[in-house]
Structures are given as structure tokens and as C-alpha cells.
């Protein structure tokens, strides 16, 4: 890890500050100060990742023994938090540096995806259910129900995000439009823009992700077989030149209006409210997830 990334990480951990990946990925640091509380840190995403990893690995070891090695060869080789989007990040609301706006427009490069394993084999299907059930029972009799309940709870918590844009200053769309007009960008319908202040409304053509054939894989449907599609590689987002220019103007107007700061503050306040609203379920399920994660860790090292 380079010095800049280490410094980013240290600052973030020490102060509860989430700095955009752009700021830690080689760009200049974000110029938008973000000091977000993270109320959803109460959600045990890392522990859920550990549980899922353990269940999947035990399931797929069982599948291999039944003559189906495909899943074990395809699953990720380490646990990952499936609830990463609960963390409030400035870059989730638009480009956070001018360099990033110029380089990526409004887009992001994407990470890759593991292979797809799909079944046209009833015997595989029976074994997959059997092996998952057996793996879950090794963690605990309540593993499946607890895991499913927790996912439902997290989906309920995620509803906060839909409210964010209704909890920023009411004059933000108008200020944004005035600023963009001062930079030469106009919209066909001002009233519509004030309702939906979206950069896509300036008539600028946006870019695309690199096209790769792996994305559109479809399996040959041969009865009695299990088909494995290729992994999807990481892809670059290629903004158009007009999109990059628009994104730079949008970023500058965002600094002038405080758009991202308002979004982050609203997100943080809403998350607090949702934690209060769902505190009983969090209080009930978090200890169960902790217990399952302890079992998962013991099985991983045992």
C-alpha cells in the first residue's frame, strides 16, 4: 500500500471520515470536506460476509464430493461485506474532484464478476439444496432464518437512501441550474429540471463501459449438464468529451452550492433515524449474527 493510501486509511479510521476512493486512488484529495457520521456501522456486514463465505465454501466442498466441482472453482476466494453500500461516501453523489470529473465524467470503472454457474441438471439441483442445508446446519439451527431476516432488515434500512434528495435545501435545484447556465449549459424545460435536477437533462451524450463479450454470455441449454460462464473482467468507463466537460461544470457548481455536503449530511441524519426506527430488530438479530460469525470463524480455522 502506498503512502498516500495509508494516510487516507489512517485519517479515515481515526476521524470517522470517509474519503472518496478517488481521493485515495492517486487523484488529489477530495476538495469537498466530508465528515459523515456512519450510523449504519451498527450493521454487521463484515460478519455477514464471513458467514456467507463459510456457508458457500462448505456447500461447494460438499458439491465437489457429489461430483460437481464447478461452484468451488468459481466462488470468491475471500469473504466480502455484502452491505458495503451502507457506508456513506461522498463519491456516491457525484465526482468529488475536478480530475475525477474530467477523467470519468459521471461514470465509474467497474470491478469484475465471478463466473456464472447454471444448471440444467436435476441431480445438481437436489445436491445444491442438500449441501446448502447441511452447511447452514453446521453453523447453527437458526442460520438460514437469521441470515434471511438480517437481509430483510438491511433492505428495510436501505430505504433511507430514497429520502436523501428530499432532505436537502429546497433551493438547491434552482441554484444548481443558475450555476450551470452561467457556464453555458441550458435545459429544454426549466420546470422539469427543477423537479428532477439531473445532469442527463443537458442534452449531452454520455459514455459507456468497455464492451466485453463475457457480459452477454448465455449458456447452451443441454439437459443434464451444468454450464459455467466466463468471469467478467474489470471494465473501464469511457465518458464522451462532452460528458467530461459537463461533469467538470457539475462538480464546480456542486462546490458552489454545497450539493454533496448537503447530500452527505442528509444521508447521515436519515441513517440515524432509521437506526432508531429499527433498533429492536437490530438488537434482536445482531447477537445472532455475532454467534453465527463466531461459528463460521471456528469452522474456517478448525
Amino acid at each position: 500500500m502506498g503512502l498516500w493510501k495509508m494516510r487516507c486509511l489512517a485519517v479515515g479510521v481515526a476521524a470517522g471520515i470517509v474519503v472518496g476512493l478517488g481521493g485515495c486512488g492517486g487523484d488529489k484529495p477530495a476538495t469537498i470536506p466530508v465528515n459523515a457520521q456512519q450510523p449504519f456501522d451498527i450493521v454487521l456486514g463484515d460478519k455477514v460476509g464471513l458467514i456467507d463465505y463459510a456457508v458457500q465454501r462448505m456447500r461447494d466442498t460438499c458439491m465437489q464430493a457429489a461430483g460437481y466441482p464447478q461452484n468451488l472453482q468459481a466462488i470468491p476466494d475471500r469473504p466480502s461485506n455484502p452491505y458495503q453500500s451502507l457506508t456513506i461516501k461522498a463519491q456516491d453523489f457525484g465526482p468529488v474532484t475536478e480530475d475525477e470529473a474530467r477523467r470519468l465524467g459521471f461514470g465509474h470503472d467497474t470491478q469484475g464478476e465471478p463466473p456464472r454457474v447454471v444448471s440444467f441438471d436435476p441431480n445438481y439441483d437436489l445436491n445444491l439444496d442438500r449441501c446448502k442445508k447441511s452447511a447452514e446446519e453446521k453453523l447453527g439451527t437458526d442460520a438460514r432464518e437469521t441470515r434471511q431476516s438480517y437481509n430483510g432488515l438491511v433492505n428495510d434500512l436501505l430505504a433511507y437512501r430514497r429520502e436523501v434528495t428530499d432532505n436537502v435545501p429546497a433551493d438547491l435545484p434552482e441554484k444548481t441550474l443558475r450555476c450551470m447556465e452561467s457556464k453555458g449549459y441550458t435545459v429544454a424545460d426549466r420546470a422539469e429540471f427543477l423537479k428532477k435536477p439531473q445532469p442527463q437533462r443537458f442534452g449531452v451524450k454520455f459514455g459507456v463501459l468497455d464492451s466485453v463479450p463475457e457480459v452477454t454470455w448465455t449458456p447452451p441449454q443441454v439437459p443434464g449438464t451444468v454450464q459455467v460462464g466466463p468471469a467478467i473482467p474489470a471494465r473501464k468507463y469511457r465518458p464522451t468529451a462532452e460528458e467530461s466537460a459537463l461533469a467538470v461544470a457539475w462538480f464546480r457548481c456542486g462546490e458552489e452550492t454545497g450539493r454533496i455536503k448537503h447530500m452527505v449530511a442528509a444521508a447521515s441524519a436519515l441513517q440515524l433515524r432509521y437506526v432508531e426506527k429499527y433498533q429492536d430488530r437490530l438488537g434482536e438479530l445482531n447477537p445472532k449474527i455475532e454467534a453465527l460469525a463466531r461459528n463460521a470463524a471456528a469452522l474456517a480455522t478448525g
Binding site: E113, R116, V118, S119, R144, N155, K205, V208
Partner: protein, 144 residues
């Protein structure tokens, strides 16, 4: 975003006409109405509807190629009903990946609003605002 797609189709009849004329989307799962191992399955938001749409892959339900604000693809199988903003339950039978669902906010920003673990036993309820889905990824399906 739940109303935007419908509204734009209304104000952009050409786009709507293009949508009707668009060929069937390539990703239809196995083409049957059963949700099988490997498929990501959406069920329509309608009383007593059994309409479904299945995918093998991630997808942007809000197509943007050459059309910033209209969607031209992905309908429930055998219908002309859009998947976008019309699904109230999801069954993720991907055998490897958690699936993340995406909506677009008032400011045009994509955000993750629900997740479904791999190898789900049943359809599970979801808020009816889908604009896309991704596999094993916290990136929206179109990179925005």
C-alpha cells in the same frame, strides 16, 4: 425515479415507438417460466400476476444508449410490461453471487436499494423501483 421512466415515455413518443420495435432482449434466462438455478428472477407488481422476467446476467433496466432518459428493453416475458419499476418480488437463484438492485435518484445518481443473497429459496418482497441489477458488485450495471 419510479415515475420518471413512464413520464419520459409519454413525452417522447418516438422513444416509445422505438421501445415497442426493439427486438426481444438477449438475456431471457432459460426462456421458461420456472426460476432455475443460475437465474435472477423478477416477478411483476400486479394482483395475481404470474408474469416473470429471468436473467442470467446483470442488466441495466433503464437503457441509455442513444437515449439518456428512456428505457427500451426488458419486459416481463410474454407481455409488453416494463420490468423497470414494475417488480415487487425477486428470487435470486444465482449460485455464486449476491445480487444488488439499483434505483436512480432525483439528481440522476444510481444507488443500491436492496440486496438478495445467492441461492434464495423463494421470491422475496422488494420495493417497486428497480432500474437495474448487478452480480457480486457494488457498481451499477451501466457504470454510472
Amino acid at each position: 425515479m419510479s415515475k420518471l421512466g413512464r413520464m419520459v415515455v409519454l413525452v417522447l413518443p418516438l422513444a416509445a415507438a422505438m421501445a415497442v420495435a426493439a427486438p426481444a432482449s438477449a438475456d431471457d434466462g432459460d426462456g421458461t417460466l420456472n426460476c432455475v438455478n443460475g437465474e435472477i428472477c423478477f416477478r411483476e407488481n400486479a394482483n395475481n400476476s404470474n408474469n416473470v422476467k429471468h436473467f442470467w446476467n446483470g442488466a441495466n433496466h433503464w437503457q441509455q444508449e442513444n437515449c439518456q432518459l428512456c428505457h427500451i428493453a426488458y419486459r416481463f416475458t410474454g407481455t409488453n410490461h416494463y420490468v423497470m419499476d414494475n417488480a415487487n418480488s425477486v428470487r435470486n437463484r444465482d449460485t455464486i453471487c449476491t445480487v444488488t438492485l439499483w434505483d436512480v435518484d432525483r439528481y440522476g445518481v444510481w444507488f443500491n436499494y436492496a440486496n438478495f443473497q445467492w441461492q434464495s429459496d423463494s421470491y422475496l418482497p422488494v420495493y417497486n423501483v428497480n432500474n437495474g441489477h448487478s452480480r457480486c458488485s457494488f457498481d451499477p450495471p451501466n457504470g454510472l
